[in-house]
C-alpha cells in the first residue's frame, strides 16, 4: 500500500491518544509531562505532513520548529517546578499533593 497522508495522520492520532491516556492515568508529574510531549509531537507530525501533502510550502515545518522550541522552554520550567516541589514534599505524585483542598 502506497504511504500517503492518512498513514501519517493515523500515527499522529494514535500518538495523541496515548498522550491523553498518559495525562489521564498517570500520577507522577514527570510522566504526565511525558504525555504532554507526546501530544506536542503528534501535532508536529500533523503540521509537517499537512504541509508536504497539501502543498502548503514550508510553513508547516517552520511552525513545527516553533513548537519544538516552545516545548523545550516549557519542559525547562516544568522540571524546575517539579524539582522544587520535590524539595518541599519529597514526592512528585500529582494526586498526593493536595494541601489546598480542605
Amino acid at each position: 500500500m502506497q504511504v500517503e497522508l492518512t498513514h501519517f495522520l493515523v500515527v499522529s492520532t494514535l500518538l495523541f491518544s496515548m498522550g491523553v491516556f498518559a495525562i489521564v492515568t498517570r500520577k507522577n508529574a514527570i510522566l504526565v509531562l511525558m504525555g504532554i510531549e507526546l501530544m506536542l509531537n503528534a501535532a508536529n507530525i500533523n503540521f509537517v505532513a499537512f504541509s508536504k501533502f497539501g502543498g502548503f510550502g514550508l510553513s508547516g515545518q517552520v511552525i513545527a520548529l516553533f513548537v519544538i522550541i516552545l516545548a523545550a522552554a516549557e519542559a525547562a520550567i516544568a522540571l524546575a517546578i517539579v524539582l522544587n516541589i520535590y524539595k518541599t514534599f519529597s514526592n512528585v505524585n500529582v494526586d498526593e499533593i493536595n494541601n489546598l483542598k480542605e
Binding site: L33, I36, A43, N46, F50, S59, V67, E74, I81, L100
Partner: protein, 504 residues
C-alpha cells in the same frame, strides 16, 4: 515582506515594543542595582505609562501589521490593531498599574524583595503575552503568545516560596495549562490541514468558499476552545482555578482573575469573529458561518460555568477560594454576552469587564490588607471586623454589593446591559437562568457581610489599621464602582466605540 511593510508594521506594535524594551531594562537594572531593588517598581511604572499612551493612540490608529507575503497574497496580517484590542489592552494596563501598587503593599512580595527584578520581568512577560493575545490574528502567534503568558504565570503563581502551597499552586497550574495548550495545538494543526493557513482571515475566506467536513472542524474548534477556556477558566477547564487562586500570592491571584481573563476573552471574541463571521447585519447581529454552532456551545458552557461557580462558592470557607469560584461565575456571565453573537452582546461584555476590573481588584486588595495583618484568609476570622475596622468593612461591603450586581453600583449596570442584550436576542430562558444564578450569588457574598457585621467573634478580633496611602487607593478603586453606577454614559459610549473589530 519589504521594508516599507516592516516599518509600518513596527509602528503598529509600539506598545508591545515598549513592554519588551522595559522587560530588558528591568533585567539589566536588576543586575546593576544588586543591593537596592527600590528602583525597579518605578521602572515598571515608567514602562506602563509609556505603553498606556501608545495603547490609547491605538483606539484611532488602526491597521494590519506583519502581512503574509509569500504563499497567500493577503493584505491582512498576523497582528490586527483595532479599537477592540485597544480596549482590552487598556484593561490589562490598568490592572497592571494596580498590580504594581498591590505588590508594593503586599507582605508576601515584600518578603522576597531581593527577587523583585525577576518578579517584574515575569510580569512584563505576562503583559507582552496578553498584548499579543488581544490583537493576534494568526493561530501560531496566538499559541506562542498564550505560552508566553502561561510560562510567566506558572512561575509567578509559585513566586513566594515561603509557603509550600505556592509551589503546589504552580505545579497544578502547569499541568493543566500544558495539557490544554497541547490540545489547542492539535486543534490548530487540524485547522492548518484543512485550510493550509494559520491566518484567521484566510481561514474565514476558506471556510466560506469550500465544502469541508463539519465534524472535523467542530472537533478542532472545540480543541482550540480548550486552550481559550483554560485562560478564562470556563467549565470544564476550570479545575486549576480555585487551587491556583488560593495558593498563589494574592497580588498574582488578583491579576490572574482580571488581566489574564481579559486576554482570554479578547482572544475568544477575535477568534470567533475573524474566523467564523462573514458580516454584521443591520441590527449588529453577526452572520456566522454554519460550519460550527458556536451559539449553542457558548450558551451551554456559560450556563454550566456560572452555575457551577456559584454553587461551589456557597461551600467555601477561604475567602480567596470563594472569590475564585465567584470569578468563574463572572466568566460565565461574560461568556453569555459573547454567546449572543452580536455587537450589542459584545458591548455588554466590554462594559461588564471594565467594571469587573475595579470591583474584583478592590475586593482582593482589602482581602490582602486583612491577610497582611491577621495572616488569615478564612471567612470565620472576619467575625466582627466591621466594627473593629469600619472603613475596610464598609469598603468590602460596597465591592461585594457591586459583585452581586445590585444598584447603585457599577456592577448593576454591567449586569443590566448583559440582560438587555439577552432579552433583545430572544434568549429569555437563558436570561432567567442567569438571573437565578445572581440570586445564588447573593447568598455567599452576603455571608461574608454577615460574618463581618453580625457574628460576634469568640476571640478578640484584631484591629486592622489602614495607612493613608492605602485609604486613598481604596477610595480610588471605590470611586469608579460608585460613580459609574450612576453616571455610566461615558463608559457605554467608549465601549460602543470599541466593538469595531477590523477585518470584515
Amino acid at each position: 515582506m519589504n521594508y516599507e511593510n516592516l516599518y509600518s508594521s513596527l509602528s503598529l506594535i509600539q506598545p508591545e515594543i515598549t513592554i519588551s524594551v522595559f522587560l530588558l531594562l528591568i533585567v539589566v537594572a536588576d543586575l546593576i542595582f544588586d543591593k537596592n531593588k527600590a528602583l525597579i517598581p518605578f521602572l515598571a511604572l515608567a514602562g506602563l505609562i509609556i505603553a498606556s499612551v501608545q495603547v490609547i493612540l491605538q483606539v484611532t490608529n488602526t491597521g494590519y501589521a506583519f502581512p503574509f507575503s509569500d504563499v497567500y497574497l493577503s493584505r491582512k496580517g498576523m497582528v490586527t490593531v483595532d479599537a477592540f484590542g485597544a480596549f482590552f489592552k487598556l484593561i490589562i494596563i490598568i490592572s497592571s498599574f494596580i498590580l504594581v501598587y498591590f505588590s508594593y503593599v503586599s507582605d508576601e512580595i515584600k518578603k522576597s524583595e531581593k527577587n523583585l527584578g525577576e518578579y517584574y520581568a515575569l510580569i512584563f512577560g505576562m503583559i507582552l503575552g496578553m498584548f499579543f493575545l488581544s490583537s493576534a490574528s494568526d493561530l501560531i502567534l496566538i499559541y506562542v503568545a498564550l505560552e508566553l503568558l502561561s510560562l510567566s504565570s506558572y512561575v509567578l503563581a509559585g513566586f513566594s516560596k515561603l509557603r509550600t502551597r505556592n509551589s503546589e499552586a504552580s505545579l497544578k497550574y502547569l499541568i493543566y495549562g500544558a495539557t490544554s495548550s497541547g490540545l489547542m495545538l492539535f486543534g490548530i494543526s487540524i485547522f492548518y490541514g484543512l485550510s493550509g493557513t494559520t491566518n484567521l482571515y484566510e481561514i474565514n475566506t476558506f471556510l466560506a468558499s469550500h465544502q469541508i467536513n463539519h465534524l472535523t472542524l467542530s472537533f478542532a474548534s472545540i480543541l482550540i476552545f480548550a486552550g481559550i477556556g483554560y485562560k478564562i477558566s470556563s467549565v470544564p477547564f476550570h479545575f486549576w482555578t480555585p487551587d491556583v487562586y488560593e495558593g498563589a500570592p494574592i497580588s498574582i491571584t488578583a491579576y490572574l482573575s482580571v488581566a489574564s481573563k481579559a486576554a482570554g476573552f479578547a482572544l475568544l471574541v477575535r477568534f470567533i469573529k475573524s474566523a467564523f463571521v462573514t458580516s454584521d447585519d443591520s441590527l449588529g447581529y453577526w452572520e456566522i458561518l454554519s460550519v460550527f454552532d458556536w451559539h449553542s456551545l457558548l450558551i451551554l458552557v456559560s450556563i454550566l460555568t456560572m452555575t457551577l461557580g456559584n454553587l461551589t462558592a456557597l461551600w467555601q470557607n477561604n475567602i480567596k477560594r470563594m472569590l475564585a469560584y465567584s470569578s468563574i461565575a463572572h466568566a460565565g456571565y461574560m461568556l453569555l454576552g459573547v454567546a449572543v453573537l452580536s455587537n450589542q452582546g459584545l458591548v455588554a461584555v466590554l462594559i461588564y469587564f471594565f467594571f469587573y476590573l475595579f470591583m474584583n481588584l478592590g475586593a482582593f486588595f482589602i482581602v490582602m490588607l486583612i491577610a497582611n495583618k491577621t495572616g488569615s484568609e478564612e471567612i470565620d476570622d472576619y467575625n466582627g471586623l466591621g466594627y473593629t475596622s469600619p472603613f475596610l468593612g464598609v469598603a468590602l461591603t460596597l465591592f461585594m454589593v457591586a459583585l452581586i450586581g445590585l444598584p447603585p453600583t457599577a456592577g448593576f449596570i454591567g449586569k443590566l446591559y448583559l440582560f438587555i442584550a439577552l432579552v433583545d436576542a430572544q434568549m429569555i430562558t437563558v436570561a432567567i437562568i442567569a438571573l437565578l444564578n445572581t440570586v445564588i450569588a447573593l447568598y455567599y457574598y452576603i455571608r461574608v457581610l454577615k460574618h463581618m457585621f453580625l457574628t460576634k467573634s469568640t476571640v478578640e478580633t484584631q484591629t486592622v489599621s489602614v495607612i493613608r496611602p492605602n485609604i486613598i487607593f481604596i477610595i480610588f478603586m471605590l470611586a469608579p464602582v460608585l460613580i459609574f453606577g450612576v453616571y455610566f454614559g461615558p463608559v457605554v459610549d467608549f465601549a460602543k466605540r470599541c466593538v469595531q473589530i477590523l477585518g470584515l
